[in-house]
């Protein structure tokens, strides 16, 4: 049984490009952006329409984008360039401006390339690699200030403190609700699948934020009722999978399909297009510096190198928390070819969590050519996890 609000949300996403065009006709301005370090609250508070850009899964767009940004870049960025090169994807085509946060330095190249080749007006927000040092904090605060000044010029209006406060409150509410919706995955049975939650998060990239919040409230109410009805139902026996690694944007369904086809159940993630996008971010002080600090203090992305130690790395700490909360049987660590940030950390992430749960890295790109190879590996992984589950149950029964 599926929550009916999900269909409403899907329809809203389909209708959104048309809405954006109408909004622009009436003078509205759309700011497309890349990267979860972009402080969306500020864009929204200025009366601009934020849209998170980026899609995955299209080998054709990867090839097209690669002609401009080179083939040594990850497929996500190549496809992102491909979107602008092709000029058909509705959300990238309705942007009046594209803002790029550079937690991944290659994002800076993305901004340069789309500006140069496709004349897309761009703004760049620098994100400090030394994000955990005091000077990194000061730098990011100034970067956010500078970004705001540029957005104000673009919007033709100054940022209003009250509008920012409201915007912060709205985004906080959105994140809180999404976390509650995600939380259903922690149970043995859930009224919504992880995949559906993932799609709901993605819907929030595009929809009007106030409308989105109302839809989320509706969805949560519906799910709460459905969850109550599941209390006495048999639990979902499928092996529980935690998904980590490189961003899986809208449109990239290869790995998710293969996991589900193999009989796995994804119960959580730390993807920047999923749970990590909405968790660990609390704006304490509704000033520009406060917003900047909140973004810098959120669960860090692997694109930002953390030198001190594995033990104090909050990204890994978060993984431990997710393991405790969502009780996965195994982790599938997804890396894209040429995504150094996550690929370089695969071995150490494995060592870090291997005493807790099983780990498997899947290194891939958007091509179809490796589907069967990956399927074999995932099938084997799921089989191993099933076997271990059965052994655990059997041991508990005889104890």
């Amino acid at each position: 049984m599926k929550a009916t609000t999900l269909d409403k949300i899907a329809r809203a996403v389909q209708e959104r490009p048309e809405q954006l065009l109408k909004a622009r006709e009436k003078g509205g301005k759309v700011v497309g952006y890349f990267c979860s370090y972009m402080p969306e609250e500020i864009i929204y508070a200025l009366g601009l329409i934020p849209v998170r850009l980026g899609r995955g899964g299209s080998d054709d767009l990867v090839e097209l984008g690669g002609r401009y940004i080179g083939k040594g870049t990850c497929v996500f960025l190549r496809e992102s360039v491909g979107l602008f090169a092709e000029g058909k994807e509705p959300f990238s085509q309705t942007c009046d401006l594209v803002a790029v946060a550079t937690s991944c330095v290659q994002m800076f190249r993305l901004a340069e390339v789309i500006n140069h080749f496709f004349k897309v007006p761009t703004l760049v927000l620098g994100v400090p690699r030394n994000f955990y040092l005091p000077q990194g904090r000061v730098y990011f605060q100034k970067e956010v200030e500078n970004l705001t000044r540029q957005l104000e010029e673009f919007a033709g209006t100054k940022l209003d403190a009250a509008a920012l406060k409201e915007s912060v409150a709205l985004y906080r509410s959105i994140r809180q609700i999404l976390l509650k919706i995600y939380d259903f995955q922690a149970a043995d049975s859930a009224p919504i699948s992880w995949r559906e939650v993932f799609d709901v998060v993605h819907a929030g990239f595009y929809l009007d934020r106030a409308d989105y919040y109302r839809l989320l409230q509706e969805l949560l109410s519906e799910l709460t009722v459905m969850s109550a009805a599941l209390q006495h139902a048999a639990g979902d026996e499928r092996p529980r999978i935690l998904l980590s690694g490189t961003n899986i944007p809208p449109g990239d369904t290869k790995l998710i399909n293969l996991i589900e086809e193999a009989g796995g159940r994804i119960v959580g993630d730390d993807l920047c297009s999923g749970l990590r996008f909405i968790s660990g971010l609390t704006v304490q002080d509704c000033s520009l510096a406060g917003v900047a600090d909140a973004y810098l203090d959120k669960i860090p992305c692997a694109t930002l190198p953390y030198l001190p130690s594995l033990e104090t790395d909050r990204r890994l700490e978060n993984l431990s928390r997710l393991i405790d909360h969502y009780r996965p049987d195994g982790m599938i660590y997804h890396t894209l070819r040429f995504c150094d940030a996550f690929t370089f950390k695969a071995a150490e992430t494995k060592r870090f969590i291997n005493d807790k749960i099983s780990f498997m890295e899947i290194h891939t790109e958007y091509a179809d050519s490796d589907i069967e190879a990956i399927r074999t590996r995932i099938d084997a992984f799921i089989e191993v996890l099933e076997g271990r589950r059965r052994a655990k149950i059997s041991k508990a029964a005889t104890a």
């Binding site: 080179g70 330095v105 800076f108 190249r109 040092l133 000077q135 990194g136 000061v138 970067e143 370089f344």
Partner: protein, 477 residues
Amino acid sequence: MLKSVKMVSKDGLIGFPPEIKEDFLATGGLDFKYSPSVSAEEIWEFLTVEAPRRFPQAFIDDPNVFIIRPSPYVEFLWTLKYRYCMLTAKDRTEKARKNGVPVVFVQGGQTQEPYYAANAIATRPYVNIILRGGMTDGLSYKQRTIQDKKLMEEGRKLVSPEACNGMIVAFYQIMSGISPTDLVAPYLCLRCSDIAYTTESHRSTERNTPTYLVDFPVDYRPGQDWKVEYVAEDLRRLVKSIVAVGGKDPSDEDMRQQIKQLNYARRLGRSCAETWMTARYVPSYGFDYRFLVALGNDLLGDPVSAIQILEQAKQEIEERAEKGIKGIEVAEDPVRLFVSGSCYTPNTYRIEASGGAVVAYDDQYNRLTIQAEETGDPYLSLAKAMLSYPYELPTEERARWIAGSARKARCDGVIFASNWGCQYQSAVSRMVGEIVKKEAHIPYLELEVDSLTQFEQLEQSENRTEAFIEMLSDLRK
């Protein structure tokens, strides 16, 4: 002035010809910041007796091999001193380290003032990989090549198969103790994306070498003081990190003096580069030119000897250019090439054999064109200087600078090369090309190479370069 004297060849190795000894001895010896001075006689003895015995890999008589071996003819006497510094880099660094001088791994192409002001030795990837890690006594060239490949694979197993060759070999050499290093503390200039993550990878090794990164804000525009301040603060902390591993704590005045010294090195390097690139005839081998220009910024682990070599080189090059003497194996009117992109050394011997000559590089040369202020806050001065490097500017500006430099050097074509695994450079290859073609009206070749840590360029790269030279030659007709 030295005329071109052919290297002697025996048993598959080349050696310095005895005819040049007298002229060489007359140039005097070398002083060092961290090592005892050496006389010209000592340098000669080392290069002709000790080094060929200890490092046969560095004297291989094979025209396909570059970087590690001397040029076929000796045309400049400073090249012997440069070669001496190359081949003694490991010994001098290890001895200095035993005397308490910390060794710090840095990025290629960055400034080095903070390291030397803090009484440390800065070793860039080229120094670590080629001059320290691989210079095992008695290794033949083939053995050396096999050893380097092994290190690359070992490093890749620990980190990633997609890591750039250079970074991963340097990582492995440091974490395994092959190149003893006290601190890994590079700048994150815009030339490299891998270095941040290979530096981070040290945290999960048993050796756990201390690390620090000097961040580099993207998209710097003049007037963005907060970016300058950020880098300046990072540089102050860099110095603290060096002090923590045994360096000296420099005063601001010490740092200003260091800037002064390295500004002088940069001016010398720039003078050499610009004399060479504007001379009527190309004075000598592109290989020697490449590393001389690099010396103005990189110092080969010692600013004192680097400056002395540059001073001598400036004199010799100016004399040659004034007298209109061309390199013996360079064509009278070669196809003149500008090479762009980082961590790429073309096999200029092959280029020269095909009628070409590399007369300018953006990688090393660009940094020589900027002088850091010698008064005021030295950290702000260094930060401002770094952020102004043409190579580090937003790509459209960088490309315009390349176009201007290519015109200045009378180039017939530009080659942009990036290494496999280097996303940061390859991403802008086409963009740079469009702007260069538009502004300089000369052809442009994009090359992807896989040559880091190798002493032979891959045949694919050679073929494409030679075809490009042929095409440019036809165009000129």
